[in-house]
């Protein structure tokens, strides 16, 4: 899979460190609007974020985040309406419990929790959105590409890593 990504880069001529890809799950009513506002105001942002539009953060099953991180996404950002501002009244109230549970669970299975972040951005907060994307992208660049659980790491190397405790 990554072969395709590298080929794309070499095709455009400049050899760059592997492209960082961040998946953003944005709620359609608030955060997607906030990202639009940031765009309309031309607030400069890094280009690593790929936005997926969902009707509400209540639609976010924590499994989407886990699957993204396991299958190689370098970072996952979930953003929705501020609590009590949800277009569906309670969607984000359910979501914040699920996201916080996931945020505290990820380190236990060895996934760096800084690769996942959830925030609340309303449709008018373009400035805040720029800040969230910029900060998160820098954080993910610092962490580097996420190997995910690629097959290459066989048992021996895993064990060697482990037994050096």
């Amino acid at each position: 899979m990554n072969k395709k990504r590298d080929m794309m880069i070499s095709e455009t001529g400049t050899q760059r460190e592997k492209e960082i890809k961040i998946i953003g799950f944005l709620c359609n009513w608030c955060s997607y609007g906030g990202a639009d506002t940031a765009g309309v105001c031309r607030f400069k942002q890094p280009t690593d974020l790929r936005i997926i539009r969902i009707p509400c953060t209540g639609r976010m099953d924590p499994l989407f985040v886990v699957k993204s991180l396991i299958y190689g996404a370098d970072g996952v950002l979930v953003s929705g309406c501020h609590p009590k501002d949800c277009h569906y009244a309670v969607g984000n109230l359910y979501a914040r419990r699920r996201m916080e549970l996931l945020k505290r669970f990820l380190p236990f299975i060895g996934i760096d929790t800084n690769r996942f972040r959830y925030t609340w951005v309303s449709a008018s907060e373009g400035q805040l959105w720029q800040q969230v994307v910029t900060e998160f992208s820098e954080e993910i660049h610092r962490l580097g590409p996420n190997a995910g659980l690629n097959e290459k790491m066989d048992a021996e190397t895993a064990l060697s890593l482990f037994n050096t405790k």
Binding site: N2, G39, R42, C56, Y88
Partner: protein, 652 residues
């Protein structure tokens, strides 16, 4: 599947920092993409024409447009796609302007990002299904809950608009709190003079069926097709026979019943008619205090009644009404003044609430309009009005301002000065809130013309001294402590949600805030609608407001109902959840989390129960889809597979 991709240059907005040709070329490599081009202004007439032609020429089955934000032109492109014969949901829009070209200048990484976004849109489109909105007939009857001025206004407007109206009122008479008022601000015109005719209209209109002394038992169904069960509480009087002559009320021996209409000033008989202009003007027997119903003696009213209307064996009756829309106008209750122990509310007879004082002022009140002290019936020489009792005070859980007290204090003081010119009126206030038309002038008149002493400060304590009351407070403007010997103290108690408002909200599945005020769907833009389709709000139940605002909201809610009923059927939004019955394990989690009660049990032939989504009620939030363990329920146009397709497009 044959997909066409259109990359919009949007003039220079996109073309400046995104290589649209490369993105179009790249798009051809994605699976199922058979046609890809970039175009100057895709959203323009010629642009849409280009899409239409490309669909026909290349027999496209789906279209991806990479341009601005879907919030802007998704409807436009969907119509264009529909005009060309495709289903409007076989379309995806990638946002490469606000999210790409406008936020970064690096042309090369912008192009890569645009390619990825187009790839994600293509992957999602490959899993899109054509969706069709269904038409559901509307039952053009409206239910108005609450017979106060807001409810009356809503019912009148709907009825004038030719709609059948069902009004349910909890008390025996409509009129709500306004019927208890003597005069209304700022024009001091008599409350029953402006309310009475409207109440009579309600009773005389053929298309309004009034259920007084009734409560909502249960509400089921959805917008356009609500089924409401109404509990007609037992009045022990057959209202068809009763003419409201009042003979029984004279002869009834049990005189000690709590007079709810007069807020407990004086008492009334067990069988009573609240006030002369009551609509419907019918008697009701109070089961707790009627000698026959409690001890089995008496039955005097039965003997005296000329119309033989007394029915001691009467039971509650549940009736069902099918309606298409519901207007909630359940009004408010006054704050319980006994919470402020230091004011002696409930302990000293001469410390009364403002509503009790209204009854004292009112000609149909217990004292026939003469201002006297409830304790000894003497005319007061000093009256102190206290504002913000149970408002703007977080310590008693009422941090909000009730909005109307400053105005009605001034009105009550002015009327008092009219009745008793030599009676001194003091108003202890924190701030004066008089925002309406002629409101502040009214307060100014109270101070200057009627010589009412406005003292800025909060009263600390009220204690009796022989037969008078010492009101201990402070005058912050003069910087002195003040003690007034008052004959009568009127507490301007704040407004709070009416008792039972929360239970009703749960039945209607509308939400309310922590004070019990009902939640409008948008505080500024949609104040009379709720998040539950088909349920509208009017009056104070949505938040403290005065009579003009309540009437305005009554008309607004009626207008919303008219809009809803202007069509014979409702077109449902097809982006709703759908249950795959073979996968559903009947765990009921979706029903528990659905904020709109859009999912119900459906019993299959073999008796097993599966979840079923009502397309008209579902708002498409997707909570059920995220909660369902076996993923039996899928939000159409945003299914798990479609989101996973986009995730996989990025993660490769």
């Amino acid at each position: 599947m044959r997909i066409g991709v259109f990359i919009c240059k949007c003039g220079t907005n996109i073309a400046n920092t995104v290589d649209t040709e490369a993105v179009a070329r790249k798009a051809l490599e994605y699976p199922d993409v058979v046609y890809a081009t970039d175009y100057m202004y895709t959203c323009s007439e010629p642009g849409q024409e280009e899409i239409r032609e490309a669909i026909i020429k290349n027999r496209l089955q789906g279209v991806v447009v990479a341009a601005c934000t879907p919030h802007m032109h998704e409807p436009t492109f969907r119509r264009a796609v529909e005009k060309a014969g495709l289903n409007r949901y076989m379309f995806e829009q990638a946002n490469i302007r606000e999210h790409v070209s406008w936020v970064n200048k690096d042309r090369e990484s912008n192009t890569i990002k645009a390619m990825d976004l187009v790839h994600m849109a293509v992957e999602k489109l490959r899993l899109n299904q054509p969706l069709f909105s269904s038409k559901v007939p509307i039952n053009k009857r409206v239910l108005v809950i609450g017979g106060g001025i807001a409810g009356i206004q809503a019912a009148m407007d709907c009825s004038d608009g030719g709609l059948d109206v069902v009004m349910v009122e909890r008390e025996t008479t409509i009129g709500g709190k306004m019927a208890k008022l003597d005069k209304t601000f700022p024009t001091i015109d008599c409350s029953s003079c402006i309310l009475g005719p409207k109440m009579v209209d309600i009773s005389q209109k053929e298309n309004i069926s009034l259920h007084a002394y009734s409560e909502i038992e249960s509400v089921s169904g959805y917008i356009g097709n609500f089924e409401v069960k109404i509990r007609k509480k037992a009045t022990y009087v057959d209202w068809n026979a009763c003419t409201g002559c009042g003979e029984c009320t004279q002869k009834c021996p049990s005189k000690k019943t709590y007079d709810k209409f007069n807020e407990g000033l004086g008492s009334t008989t067990a069988i009573n008619i609240p006030f002369p202009q009551a609509i419907p003007k019918r008697a009701r027997i109070n089961a707790e205090s009627c000698l026959y119903l409690t001890k089995g003696k008496c039955k005097k009213c039965e003997k005296v009644c000329p119309a033989d209307a007394i029915r001691f064996d009467m039971e509650d009756e549940i009736i069902t009404e099918d309606v298409g829309a519901i207007v909630v106008a359940t009004g408010y209750d006054m704050f319980d003044y006994s919470v402020y122990g230091e004011y002696g509310g409930g302990r000293y007879p001469d410390v009364i609430t403002s509503l009790q004082y209204e009854r004292i002022l009112s000609a149909s009140g217990p004292y026939g309009g003469h201002i006297v002290r409830p304790s000894d019936g003497k005319e007061p020489r000093n009256i102190v009005f206290l504002s913000c009792v149970g408002s703007r005070d977080a310590s008693v859980g009422r941090p909000y301002c009730s909005g109307v007290c400053c105005m009605y204090i001034a009105k009550q003081a002015i009327i008092t000065r009219d009745h008793l010119p030599d009676c001194n009126c003091y108003v202890s206030y924190m701030d004066i809130r008089s925002p309406g038309k002629n409101y502040d002038e009214f307060i100014r008149r109270a101070q200057e013309e009627y010589g009412i002493n406005y003292i800025r400060g909060r009263v600390g304590k009220i204690y009796p001294k022989d037969d008078r009351l010492i009101v201990q407070g402070v005058d912050t403007l003069m910087g002195v402590q003040m003690d007034i010997e008052a004959d009568l103290v009127v507490l301007a108690t704040g407004l709070e949600a009416s008792e039972g408002a929360r239970e009703l909200a749960e039945k209607l599945r509308i939400s309310y805030d922590q004070y019990g005020w009902y939640m409008e769907s948008h505080p500024k833009l949609r104040p009379v609608e709720t998040n539950t389709a088909g349920v509208y709000l009017a009056g104070v139940c949505q938040g403290p407001k005065d009579i003009p605002a309540s009437v305005a909201q009554g008309s607004a809610a009626a207008a919303k109902v008219q809009i809803l009923f202007s069509r014979d059927t409702i077109e449902t939004d097809p982006q709703v959840a759908l249950v795959n019955e073979r996968v559903c394990i009947s765990c009921g989690k979706c029903i528990e989390v659905c904020p709109f009660g859009a999912i119900q049990w459906k019993t299959l032939r073999d008796g097993s129960q599966k979840a079923e989504v009502l397309p008209t009620v579902c708002q498409g939030c997707g909570l059920c889809n995220a909660t369902c363990p076996p993923k039996a329920v899928q939000l159409q146009h945003c299914t798990d597979d479609q989101i996973l397709a986009e995730v996989n497009a990025v993660c490769e």
